[in-house]
Symmetry: C2
Subunit: 197 residues, 2 copies
C-alpha cells in the first residue's frame, strides 16, 4: 500500500495483522473509527493497551486472566473436584461461553509432539494438581487432531497410577476442527458424551 | 457478557462495536493481542488514537485525510479537469484501490433525499468548483439506490447551465450494492463504461 496515497495506511496495516481482518475489513474499520466520536477510539485504544499490559497467567490453571489466581479458580461455586484440560486459554472461553461446565480448568499450553519437545507444556503441573488437590475427574477437552489424540493418551497413561477418573469429551466435529469456533450446543453435547478412557 | 467471568470483557465489548466484528471474532482478536508482543498492542492503540485525532476533511474535495488540502488534490500528476463525485470518503479509497482513475474527487457527504433535508451535503460546494475550477467532466460515481439515482439526476440538472460534461459510471452490480465492497475489475469496468446523461 502506498503511504502517500493512503493517509491511514499505518492503522490499516496494523488492523490487517489481526486474525480474520483483511485489507478491506481494515479499511472499513478505519473509516468507521474516524466517523465515530474521538472518545470511542480513545476507549478502544485504552482497552487494547490495558488488556495486554494487565494480562497474567493464573499460576494454578494457566488460564489467561487479569488477576492471579483467576476468577474461575477463585470461584467457590465451581466444583474443584473436576478439572477440564484444554490446549489453549481461548478454549477456556469457548467452554465458558457454552455455559454448562462448572468445574475448573488446566491449560496445557500446547500438545505432546514426539517430533519436537515443548518445554512449556504444563503436564507436570497437571500431575501436581492431581497429587495435591482433591481431584475426582480429569476431562480431556483437546481439539481433535493427531497430536491432540496423542496428548490425551499420554495424559491418560500418566494418570493411570492415580485414583482419578480420566474422561475425554466426545468429538462430533470434523478432524482438524478448531474448538474455538464450535457452537454452544456442540460443545455441551461433547461434554455430556464424555467417556472414560 | 458477564464481567466477572470474562476479564477481557471491556476490550471484547469495544471490538464488537467495529463493523464486521462479532463476539467470536472479538474474542479471537483479544487472545491474539494478548499473545503478541506488548509493542504491537501499543502500536495498534497509537495508530487508532492518532488516526482519529489527526483526521481532517479536505476543504476542497471533502475527502477524509490527515492533511488539508488532501494528497489527491495536491498531486500535480492528477487531472484536475475531471471530478469524480462520490457519496462518502470511503468510496474514494475504493476508487483509488481500483487504480485506473487519475482525476480529482468530490465527496458529497450524503445523498439527495426529498423526505429529509441534509444540510451537510456538499452540492453548493460542487457548484462552486465547477464555476471556479477548469472542470471539463463530472463523473457521478454514486452507489446504485433510489436516493443515489435521484442525487445523480439532481446534479445533472444542477449542472445543465454549465459547460461541463456530466457522466455516470455504469452499474453492473445488483441494486442496493455497496461500492465499498466491489472488486477492482468491476469498478474499472464501471468507470470505463460511463455514459453522458
Amino acid at each position: 500500500m502506498d503511504n502517500k496515497r493512503f493517509p491511514f495506511a499505518e492503522l490499516i496495516n496494523n488492523l490487517s495483522k489481526l486474525p480474520g481482518i483483511g485489507k478491506k475489513s481494515a479499511e472499513r474499520i478505519a473509516y468507521d473509527l474516524i466517523n465515530r466520536d474521538q472518545s470511542f477510539s480513545k476507549a478502544l485504544a485504552d482497552s487494547i493497551v490495558n488488556t495486554r499490559a494487565n494480562a497474567k497467567i493464573c499460576h494454578r490453571c494457566f488460564n489467561l486472566t487479569d488477576k492471579d489466581p483467576c476468577y474461575i479458580c477463585e470461584d467457590p461455586a465451581r466444583d474443584s473436584s473436576v478439572i477440564c484440560v484444554v490446549e489453549e486459554a481461548k478454549d477456556v472461553m469457548a467452554l465458558e461461553n457454552a455455559d454448562d461446565y462448572r468445574g475448573l480448568y488446566h491449560v496445557l499450553n500446547g500438545l505432546v509432539d514426539p517430533k519436537k519437545e515443548n518445554p512449556n507444556i504444563k503436564l507436570n503441573e497437571l500431575l501436581k494438581r492431581v497429587e495435591n488437590e482433591q481431584v475426582k475427574e480429569i476431562i480431556l477437552a483437546i481439539n481433535p487432531s493427531a497430536e491432540g489424540e496423542m496428548t490425551s493418551t499420554y495424559i491418560a497413561l500418566m494418570l493411570k497410577p492415580y485414583d482419578v477418573k480420566v474422561t475425554k469429551i466426545a468429538y462430533g466435529l470434523p478432524f482438524g476442527g478448531d474448538m474455538d469456533y464450535f457452537d454452544k450446543d456442540t460443545i455441551n453435547m461433547a461434554l455430556n458424551n464424555r467417556r472414560e478412557i
